[in-house]
Symmetry: C2
Subunit: 296 residues, 2 copies
């Protein structure tokens, strides 16, 4: 079997063909420009690869959003109300299916990453878990009872409110919609704006990290209390900071305050809040996983 | 078909037999005392009813918690680490099944209420929605893709953090675990402690209600961003305050700040955040719904 995956990001597209983490046969990446030009480049790459490897059985798209995931909606497979203006109401799925007559899986980038971590990574064998990425922005995807969470639209976990003590942290937050939501306070862009330096330039003992871990711990408590996940995977560039994951685990336990009595949390927090096993491959493998899911 | 339901609350048990909202044939209620005495009273009532109506086909229990909902767990069907000390580690399901050889459905009271609202009430035809009750405490249940949400344990939506501006509201919160979590700030017990009067004694224009609606709106934004529900049902005694529901809808829209672009929210908030159609029958009908689900 060989399938194609598109990790459709707001700044770059990563296209690959293969069947899983140990079988990625080719990959290309290029900047996200106009919808027509960008999607055509993906199509051209996949056509080349078909000439080499034989017919693709499916395509998966793990996309920046918001996206329309409802199969019976007239805009199913569209990127909808994105802040990237020239991508508003882009029919990604329609554009691809006019070139390839195969099943196409389409979901958010974070739902794709969650699916891939469940299939090959840090959440194998679990049916209800969350993949949260803390990068320039913050987003989350989830499987619930073995299926990707969509609901009305899809989760937008970066935009939950958090408890903001303005005396301790006078930074007002930089989310254009909510100010001091989780993303506005704890995304990489918020760290940079608050401290005047990028996160990776701040020393491990800089007070930024105590603050950061506190906000993330609050967010994890919200996620645990609402979704009751069996595990939470924390990805994204901000989480690469040495020591941050440990601090987040500690502060999440403090924030939960022994209210949720389950050994997976109280005794094994190191296995409950984990890094992605697929590392920075979770995105492209998410697209591959969506393609495989589209076949079955 | 006739089934039995137990709404197992921390202060009272309500037992009924029937098959749905238009066919409740008998009901009894009694205080929650010791586990043995209380469950035996339920068993005695159901035995009497079987003599009148014929054999019960199933039993449903919608219980206070926390409870163990994992069928393969050695404590499946137990009330586990509850603050009601004499109920810690009570084998509710085992006790019932020693008297009745029928399928027994067992879940949280709020998951039961969610199931009943989906079957007969305010969420018919939807597959992903939340039932949140704001009473003495705050709890939430949910269906996701048509199935009750369990995950690691089950949701504990009352204990999410909220943004607490201590200058505006110096009340420290009264949750024994988290202080100023949602329940600690917005449950009926918090209203009473903050203002020195029960909620139902506070006039509709009392500043309590602005504050209350603001906290609930924050909570709904969290629920919407994490679970992406198609609808949210708000039950419980606090929501019976005239005007509160309208205020919560208004403040939820303000809190979301047009970030989630979906007509169900932006155009039809009155159909998105709704009261329970089953009113204060959601609890007992939740138990009946769990019994019916246990058969199929």
């Amino acid at each position: 079997m060989i399938v194609a995956g598109i990790e459709a990001g707001g700044t770059k597209f990563v296209c690959s063909v293969g069947s899983g983490p140990d079988d990625l046969r080719a990959e290309t990446r290029f900047p996200t420009t106009t919808p027509g030009e960008t999607i055509d480049r993906a199509i051209a790459f996949f056509s080349e690869q078909e000439a080499i490897h034989g017919q693709l059985e499916a395509i998966g798209v793990a996309s920046f959003g918001p996206v329309d995931l409802h199969q019976h909606s007239p805009t199913f497979g569209f990127i909808t109300s994105t802040p990237k203006l020239n991508w508003i109401n882009t029919d990604v799925l329609g554009h691809l299916s006019s070139s390839f007559d195969v099943p196409i899986g389409f979901d958010t980038d974070v739902n794709g990453a969650a699916l891939a971590e469940g299939k090959w990574g840090a959440a194998q064998g679990l049916n209800t878990f969350i993949y949260l990425t803390i990068g320039t922005g913050i987003g989350g995807g989830a499987l619930v009872d073995g299926r990707l969470l969509h609901g009305l639209i899809h989760p937008e976990m970066g935009h939950i409110p958090i408890n903001h003590n303005r005396q301790r942290d006078p930074f007002p937050g930089n989310c254009p919609y909510h100010g001091d939501c989780l993303e506005g306070m704890a995304a990489g862009s918020a760290i940079e704006k608050r401290w005047g330096q990028k996160g990776q330039e701040l020393a491990p003992d800089h007070p930024a990290w105590e603050l950061e871990a506190g906000y993330l711990a609050q967010a994890l408590r919200s996620l645990i209390c609402v979704l009751s996940p069996q595990r939470i995977i924390l990805g994204g560039g901000v989480m690469e900071q040495a020591g941050l994951l440990t601090l987040v685990r500690e502060k999440t336990l403090i924030s939960l305050s022994n209210y949720i009595q389950h050994p997976s949390i109280t005794d094994r927090i190191d296995e409950y809040i984990v890094p992605p096993a697929l590392g920075n491959r979770a995105g492209v493998l998410g697209a591959i996983a969506l393609a495989i899911q589209a076949i079955s």
